[in-house]
């Protein structure tokens, strides 16, 4: 096919373009023609098709995501909200923190190592693009059944990829999740989050303004990576739309990205950059149209100037390539030389590929011919919006009626003990050390807490001890039983995890992993989850600053469990006051905070012992969560507790076993009045934590809880080298350790 110029497109209105192969619907294509007043060129079609895809345009999710803005709580902390590369919050002392979670699910299934690695690379570039220095990463993961052969292929590759990339970038990995469930067999979820820190004045936005300013592309050369539809346009004839040889898999180069980080931050420090954008999905199409549409002017780009790795690429392919480790900066002409010098210092290839213009058009040239002439807003922001039908599935009632509270419970102490061992050694509750020991959590020398703590915590100011904490949580089983409550439970758990370590929760990012939006049942789950999350954030006063939606996680008719993953960011004035999970000292008193009810729907116990999913998830009381959080934060600040662990999957016994193993100190537990041992140990009621209180603080701590109205129950004492539930059973730490730590290596090694 000869070059399809704008001029040519005007003259040949009847040429049929392969819009359907590029994933556009008929009405979407007609809309493009209407916008342009003519048929699009091949290059324009490439841009619209990829920018109007679900992934880039959020066309199915937009109408629901709006709630995050509409219901946003009043928060002084919010500096930059949804819509930018990542949200930014004020954490005090002149510091701002940016954080975000994203998915790289499908690529990680196809090529686990590279898929996961480039997922980390992408989220980190979002953070750099805000002007921040990345300081940590987290990786919430969900895999198929633990004993499935394909999990053996996917999980080690994913972990090696996340580690390989993050370790090489010098970013401590400070948290994440690993959940196994058969529902993720063909659709593992690989979410990755990153945090960055900057001074308030260094916040940068993705916009191109100031006519005459130069557009500089820097980083890796552009190759044929990740090109889907463009190769159709590039093929000789449109009938010959066989997949070309272009690889859909992108290979990451973390070394190149490390150089990008350093050279970008150096350019920021010298105030050389007007606007900046990372190149992720949709590559140059996305970067140029977003920069131009967020700014005041237009943009002119010479595509011939883009440094290529493969000289045979067509212009459509260059526009759509998803080669990794590339960035685009807008720089004033007088500062271009200095910018290029910095790039050279870091051995980063940098090229001026265009400039900001007066008009409002994005014009792209190839071999001197104009191949794109569009209003960039129509590409970047005016994509289709769908009101997809949604309906509560008819199976929901039956699922909820299948009450887990009615499942047979252990009838003897021996059976109870056996179930405790089964629980703590089950893949989901077992130690994740095999994974987390492949991640560097010491690099940068500011890690205060990392896995297996309740939240990761990083010091950001060496003088004052100011720090930030992050936790990510999600529970697809709860969300399946009730998506609204499930989303709130995820939020509540992440919030609680942050507060348990002594940090004050400030803001939220999320990654919403769901099945096909074309299925009304899935769409209902999605709508409910967003409604739950938005309502919850409003109530807790923690705004959603950004996030990511991953749809079509589904094999045939079977969708994954609806899986909203919530990240909560918190701040702590002095990291010296952080509260760890591990029991510190024998003799300290153990208290259970919150109410324990008979709540087993979706619980770890129901899964491990009965392979059951049914009933209702635990109730959420966000006011209670907030109160619990305040108590935990005050107690940490005033030195009233030496250890704390939030209660979630697996209930109290899981939390106590973890604290005991980590501290190498046992516990003697007494079943409190009014509770049976089984409910005491296994219930998953929300809004609870267990704390270890030095005897000298006992009064003060009880008084504080009493005064504020938080139920507090003394449940035992840190003691010995066993977890001893008085009158029921005792399990030695050695036995527990073997059970808890042996499982994952046994499955994967």
């Amino acid at each position: 096919m000869s070059l399809d110029t704008v001029e040519n497109a005007s003259k040949t209105p009847d040429v049929e373009l392969p819009w359907a192969e590029l994933g556009l619907k008929k009405d979407e294509y007609e809309r493009v023609v209407e916008i342009l007043g003519r048929r699009p060129t091949g290059a324009e079609l490439a841009m619209y098709s990829v920018m109007w895809s679900e992934h880039c345009s959020y066309k199915s999710s937009k109408v629901h995501l709006r709630q995050f803005g509409e219901k946003a709580p009043q928060s002084d902390a919010m500096l930059v909200g949804i819509g930018e590369n990542a949200g930014v919050v004020d954490v005090g002392q002149g510091y701002a923190v940016t954080f975000k979670v994203e998915s790289h699910n499908h690529p990680s299934y196809v090529e686990p190592y590279q898929g996961a690695a480039t997922g980390v690379g992408g989220i980190v570039r979002d953070i750099i693009a805000m002007g921040a220095r990345p300081i940590a990463v987290v990786d919430p993961l969900r895999m198929g059944a633990a004993d499935h052969p394909d999990t053996r292929r996917v999980l080690p590759g994913v972990v090696a990829g996340i580690g390989g990339y993050g370790n090489c970038l010098g970013l401590p990995n400070i948290g994440g999740e690993l959940v196994f469930d058969a529902c993720y067999q063909g659709n593992p979820l690989v979410n990755a989050g990153a945090i960055g820190v900057m001074r308030h004045e260094d916040i940068h936005l993705a916009k191109a303004s100031g006519a005459g300013n130069k557009v500089i592309m820097y980083g890796a050369r552009t190759g044929g990576d990740g090109i889907g539809g463009a190769s159709i346009l590039a093929s000789e004839t449109f009938d010959d739309a066989k997949p070309s040889k272009r690889p859909a898999v992108q290979v990451g180069d973390p070394f190149q990205e490390k150089l990008l980080i350093e050279c970008t931050l150096e350019a920021f420090a010298e105030k050389l950059v007007v606007g900046i954008q990372d190149l992720g999905a949709a590559g140059i199409s996305c970067a140029t149209s977003e920069l131009a549409s967020n700014g005041s002017g237009g943009m002119r780009v010479e595509l011939d100037d883009v440094p290529l790795r493969d000289s045979t690429l067509s212009p459509e392919e260059i526009l759509m390539s998803e080669s990794q480790e590339r960035m685009c900066a807008v720089v004033e002409p007088s500062k271009v030389d200095r910018f290029l010098e910095i790039c050279e210092k870091w051995d980063v290839i940098a090229t001026v590929i265009g400039e900001v213009t007066d008009g409002d058009r994005l014009e792209i040239f190839w071999h001197g011919e104009k191949i794109v002439d569009v209003d960039p807003r129509t590409v970047a922001h005016d994509g289709p919006v769908y009101e997809r039908p949604y309906a509560r599935p008819e199976w929901q009632d039956a699922l909820q009626a299948d009450d887990a509270n009615k499942l047979p419970r252990p009838s003897s102490s021996d059976e109870l003990k056996a179930q405790v061992l089964a629980l703590v050694s089950s893949p989901n509750q077992a130690s994740k050390k095999w994974i987390t020991s492949q991640y560097d959590h010491f690099v940068q020398g500011n890690t205060v807490l990392a896995q297996p703590e309740d939240s990761g915590m990083i010091r950001i100011d060496e003088e004052t001890g100011l720090g930030v904490a992050i936790a990510t949580d999600g529970n697809g089983r709860f969300a399946k039983l009730d998506p609204y409550t499930g989303a709130q439970l995820a939020l509540a758990e992440a919030y609680r995890n942050v507060a348990t370590t002594g940090a004050k929760p400030l803001a939220v990012s999320d990654c919403l992993n769901f099945g096909s939006p074309e299925d009304p049942a899935v769409m209902w789950q999605f709508a409910e989850a967003i409604r739950g999350l938005a309502d919850g954030c409003l109530q807790l006063g923690t705004p959603v600053t950004g996030g990511n939606v991953s749809l079509y996680n589904q094999t045939g008719e079977a969708a994954i469990h609806p899986t909203p993953v919530v990240a909560v960011l918190g701040v702590i004035d002095d990291v010296a006051r952080r509260t760890p999970v591990a029991f510190q000292e024998e003799g300290q008193l153990l208290y259970l905070l919150g109410d324990t009810k008979e709540e087993f729907g979706g619980s770890a116990w129901s899964q491990v012992v009965h392979d059951h999913l049914g009933g209702l998830p635990p109730q959420v009381d966000l006011e209670r969560e907030r109160l619990l959080g305040e108590i935990l934060i005050s107690a940490s600040r005033d030195g009233m507790i030496d250890a704390a662990h939030d209660l979630s999957d697996g209930g109290l016994i899981q939390a106590v076993v973890e604290s005991a193993l980590l501290g190498g100190k046992g516990a003697r537990l007494v079943v409190p009045d009014g509770l049976d041992a089984f409910t005491f140990l296994f219930s998953e009621s929300a809004g609870r934590a267990v704390v270890a209180v030095p005897r000298s603080e006992e009064l003060r701590f009880n008084d504080m809880c009493g005064a504020r109205g938080l139920p507090v129950t003394r449940i035992g004492v840190v003691d010995g080298d066993a977890v001893d539930v008085q009158g029921e059973f005792a399990l030695s730490l050695a036995e527990l350790r073997e059970a808890h730590e042996g499982t994952i290596p046994g499955l994967l090694a």
Partner: protein, 91 residues
């Protein structure tokens, strides 16, 4: 006993950061005139029985399913000659 060699290289269109890093270092080391470097893996398999067509077919399958990741890599299978006719000497 015979030796079969499986060479696994990234497909030409796939980024090879290792090869690139090596190539970029060459001028600094005083080596010019090498326009491209690709780095791959070499597997030397010691095969017990005779390396007949059946054995080669099996090794081919092994390479395809295990030694190479054909999403991003190509491979070749060669029977090593008894005497190595290498131009460079083995060190």
């Amino acid at each position: 006993m015979a030796r079969v060699v499986v060479d696994v290289m990234l497909k030409p269109e796939i980024l090879d950061p290792q090869g690139q890093a090596v190539q970029r270092a060459l001028p600094r080391l005083g080596f010019d005139g090498i326009s491209d470097v690709r780095q791959g893996k070499r597997f030397e398999l010691e095969v017990d029985g005779p390396v007949d067509d059946a054995a080669l077919a099996r090794i081919h399958e092994l390479a395809e399913t295990f030694l190479a990741n054909t999403v991003i890599e190509n491979f070749t299978v060669k029977v090593e000659e008894a005497v190595e006719p290498a131009v460079g000497a083995e060190k």
